[in-house]
Symmetry: C2
Subunit: 339 residues, 2 copies
DNA sequence: ATCCTTTGCACAATCGTTTGCGCAAACCTG
DNA sequence: CAGGTTTGCGCAAACGATTGTGCAAAGGAT
């Protein structure tokens, strides 16, 4: 039952009912008795205003869009959970869209979301192209990028400290005696991967180790391709003594290849992977990981977006919010004594 | 830019523009020239009708609600992905809500979704209480339950063949010589768990093995509790020779306990777990699993819902759609020769 | 030239809210 | 009792679309 029906039922005008239901009865000097009657009948008939009509009138839908490349990726699933929870706590609902790692689908989803008049968008963009995202800047829609970002969009952003994470991982390996440290990357055009590779190289440089292009493998965010490239890495002579996998999916590929090559972790090879997972500690040996603060990222993204919505004056350039990562040491990394 | 603005810009009435944009120009005898002018200017200014206003007028939002207990559970994440994809292919968007395994949050989410005038709801209900779901039956909202179901709701439902999955797993173990087969369950009030336990018992009965209450452990859908209960199972004399874990989360708990007890799979204990996961094949030994057709479930749920929406006559009782599961044999199960 | 039909489009009501404004009735004040 | 103020609420116009109806202008028939 909606407000209109309730008003008719009570023989009171919709305006009055609306004001009372909005909790502004006193402000508009509605008699206490009338207020009471409305409120009681409203809860008795469980009458609530139609959100659609409200949105149309108020030009605000209390809905946030969440556009991510792949909800079945546990990282994005956790992110979505945090976003949804925070949004609901603030009275917002979340329109979910999955771009399936495709720029075209992404563009289509954005159009759909704009048609629904979302109040703001949390976007983890896909790929290296941002031309199709220009509508977002021209539409003045509050926007927060998360995880992956395009600097060219000049929008707010929330990322984890990918640079430090990779650098710290390399530091950790170096401290244990590793010198031939390979890096298994995903799509190079992603800002996430770029930052991690930068951290990887910084870690090497710090330690006085020359960066070697042949130790930087991968290039697609795919388990199968990660496996193939790891196989190549493992076939080299001399073999790298450690691998830094830049995502959980890539780590799975690496693990496949290691198993097929009949090598033992960490005796033959140390492995560190980005993204903490529930199963990481149950592998044999348990996997050393770099944990991202996924929950915090989701929460921060919602907060950043709501701040923009409230201000309605979107700042031209917002410094990215960078959240710290954490190295979780487990058994997949060991001291390297030979050579 | 919306339809109204476009109409003013062109000096044409909104009605005409609406009809042309709806592709019904000929039907209403709008001159070809006018149609062309409208269409060209519409795409030039990238003008599209406001979905909110359309929804209000048409009393249909082309939006489906998806309410699940935990999007960070990979099973539900994959389900969400399939649902979102199928829905978008049919021109619908998905409002995501996460009930966080709480009946109260679930009720709150349902209210929110109803306020937004979703056209239908895909629901994986939580817990053993369904009283708060009655609004759904009285509101005549098209509804499809998925994974977990309440028969009392008398709504359409899509589930995997949980009974056969568990029974086949037991059959498999029995064939290899196992007799003391334990079962690690989750919340008993969930229809999913109930069906799987039924399958477990059926498998035992078939083989002439008496069901023993002390071999049915667990009771909460939690990794920590699963670990504790598995510890108890493993402490018993004689020990069970195999464990059937009724979900991926429970399997993780079981693996923890096995590791702490310093037992070896499959020499000391065989393990089968529900839910196929990317990491299952990378454990040592690789985990034998019962794979659910998650993608198909999502697709079927959307199709079932859209069918109801199109008919507008919701059938009083719909037989559940039961999709087959698949036993994936890997290394965590071995022949049992002793005793 | 008149009447009838077709063509081509606009008018206005509607969906369910919110909100500026106005208007009675009741209540003071002098 | 006239005039002013307060109290309590309704009217009507938006928001932006869809759709039944109506109405001119153009074309054809007689």
């Amino acid at each position: 039952m909606n407000l209109k029906a309730l008003a008719q039922h009570l023989g009171i005008s919709a305006s009055t009912v609306s004001r009372v239901l909005a909790g502004r009865g006193d402000e508009f000097r509605i008699a206490k008795a009338t207020q009471k009657r409305i409120l009681e009948e409203a809860s008795a008939m469980s009458a609530r205003p139609d959100e659609l009509a409200r949105s149309l009138r108020l030009q605000s839908s209390r809905t946030l869009g969440l556009l991510i490349p792949d909800i079945s990726n546990p990282f994005f699933a956790s992110l979505a959970r945090a976003v949804e929870r925070r949004a609901r706590a603030q009275g917002y609902t979340v329109l979910l869209a999955d771009s399936q790692e495709s720029t075209e689908v992404e563009a289509e989803c954005i159009r759909m979301l704009l048609d629904r008049r979302i109040d703001g968008l949390i976007l983890a963009p896909v790929g290296g192209e941002s031309a199709h995202l220009e509508v977002l800047t021209t539409s003045k829609l509050p926007l927060t990028q998360v995880d992956r970002v395009f600097a060219s969009l000049q929008a707010a952003s929330v990322v984890s400290d990918n640079f430090s994470g990779a650098r710290d991982a390399v530091r950790h390996l170096v401290k244990l005696g590793h010198r031939r440290i390979a890096c298994l990357q995903g799509k190079e055009d992603s800002s996430v991967i770029a930052e991690r590779v930068r951290g990887y190289r910084a870690g090497l440089t710090e330690a006085g180790i020359r960066f070697r292009g042949d130790l930087l493998a991968g290039g697609e965010h795919s388990q199968a391709i990660a496996r193939d490239h790891t196989q190549r890495l493992l076939g080299a002579q001399p073999r790298p003594t450690a691998i830094l996998a830049l995502s959980n999916l890539l780590a799975l590929g690496a693990l496949e290849a290691v198993r097929e090559a009949q090598l033992t972790i960490p005796a033959d090879l140390s492995l560190i992977a980005f993204d903490e997972q529930p199963w990481a500690s149950l592998l044999s040996p348990p996997l050393t990981t770099i944990a991202q603060p996924v929950e915090d990222m989701g929460t921060a993204a919602v907060d950043s977006l709501l701040a923009q919505i409230k201000l309605t004056t979107r700042k031209p350039k917002t410094a990215p919010i960078v959240l710290p990562v954490r190295l979780i040491q487990r058994g997949s990394v060991a001291v390297w004594k030979k050579d």
